[in-house]
Subunit: 249 residues, 2 copies
């Protein structure tokens, strides 16, 4: 089998998330798979590095697909050009590469980087407004940094998961959370080995509640401890969230 | 009379340009004037520094209005807050200042800076696509710079005006044209004392034709000389154009 790896960028605003799902139309995976099926004349299964929710964007999502060598008659460049010529303007293939046979975009991933963007400028940003959560109340970023320190590390993040039926382990490791304020835009970056359903958005909602003064930074350890979704903050809306990168060994 | 100066930013995508016009709905001037009328309980005439076409954006448009001192019961901050609370999200008032009685946003202006943004990256930009003209063909920027040199200075720019009935002088001075390519985005900045109808867009279309090799840079002087719209290049679409700033003495 030939194994191809795609680097994909998308504006998730119009889509029902990454993952193809039974009757839900308009997913990013489906758009890509349909075009690959047109290219090869055979159905193609695309493995994404992970799902992104409806409305969430990706600066660099990774996916791979395997096809029999006999069908593999196109170069990486040809695949990229065909995909970009057929895809809507809010999805682009940044690159196509041949991968080793064992590479799997989800199973081989060792880390992910997400970024949440918050507009806390004096006047609301116009030109990036579709990709920013607007906050009118001031945020105390030093307090947010203090709270973030408690989140870094290996924890059971059940309190930060919107799937109460989750049967698999809810333990994850966050390697780092960094915050950068520039021109009124706060970017919170989460680097971890993987994230639960809505986890980055709940982490962000919780940090925002710390920033506005509704929550004490020192309460974070007990929120983790309680393993109860209702202890953590609100689920921040999807439009401010970007999957920035996926890491492999 | 009290004289107030507004600094305004807008995403022009949804609007029929700056200027209120008889039956044309949805202009930026009209949106602002209606809210100011609600504020003061009297009609207010807003003078913009100049019109921007339908679909053209502004990073900093300047406008002023005069009202009788007796009616002037709000501070600059109150005016700004009321406008921003009532305006749609694609128009923001960046600041409100008291101006000298003689200040007039259009008549007092001594220069304007426009920027045209072109996406010539290998893969089309997704997140700024609404504000970029996408070019698939490569552009030779050195040739464009060469052509731009001929445009700088005081000329009769009749060839670069889309109003054939223009009765006033078509002489204008371009102080500078600069080009900056970063991350696949070419920004062409035009600094001049004023610009004719569609002039920046025709200058851009002409420079693009130079960049693609369809036009020799050395032909620019004869295009100016001919004073004929059909000699110059195409009118670049509005969505890549920004009014960046307006200058006063």
């Amino acid at each position: 089998m030939a194994n191809f790896c795609l680097m994909i960028q998308y504006d998730g605003s119009r889509y029902n998330g990454w993952q193809r799902q039974g009757n839900t139309p308009n997913t990013i995976q489906e758009k890509l798979e349909n075009i690959l099926e047109d290219l090869y004349g055979e159905p193609v299964d695309l493995n994404g590095s992970g799902r992104t929710d409806a409305g969430v964007h990706a600066l660099r999502q990774i996916a791979n697909y395997r096809i029999p060598r006999l069908l593999s008659r196109y170069s990486c460049q040809q695949i990229q050009q065909f995909l970009n010529s057929e895809l809507p303007k809010d999805i682009r293939v940044l690159a196509v590469e041949k991968a080793s046979e064992r590479f799997h975009a989800r199973l081989s991933a060792v880390g992910k980087l997400y970024e949440y963007r918050i507009d806390c400028g004096e006047v609301a940003n116009i030109f990036e407004r579709r990709y920013l959560l607007r906050m009118e109340d001031p945020l105390n970023i030093e307090r947010m940094r203090e709270a973030a320190k408690y989140l870094i590390g290996t924890h059971d993040f059940k309190s930060f998961c919107d799937n109460p039926q989750m049967k698999k382990s809810t333990e994850r490791t966050i390697f780092d959370i960094s915050m950068d304020l520039q021109d009124g835009i706060l970017r919170i970056r989460y680097h971890g080995d993987g994230f639960l359903y809505h986890m980055v958005r709940i982490l962000t909602g919780t940090l925002i509640e710390v920033g506005t003064g509704d929550l004490m930074p020192s309460l974070i350890p007990s929120i983790i401890e309680e393993k109860d979704r209702s202890s953590a903050g609100f689920t921040a809306p999807p439009h401010g969230l970007f999957l920035v990168d996926v890491y492999y060994e």
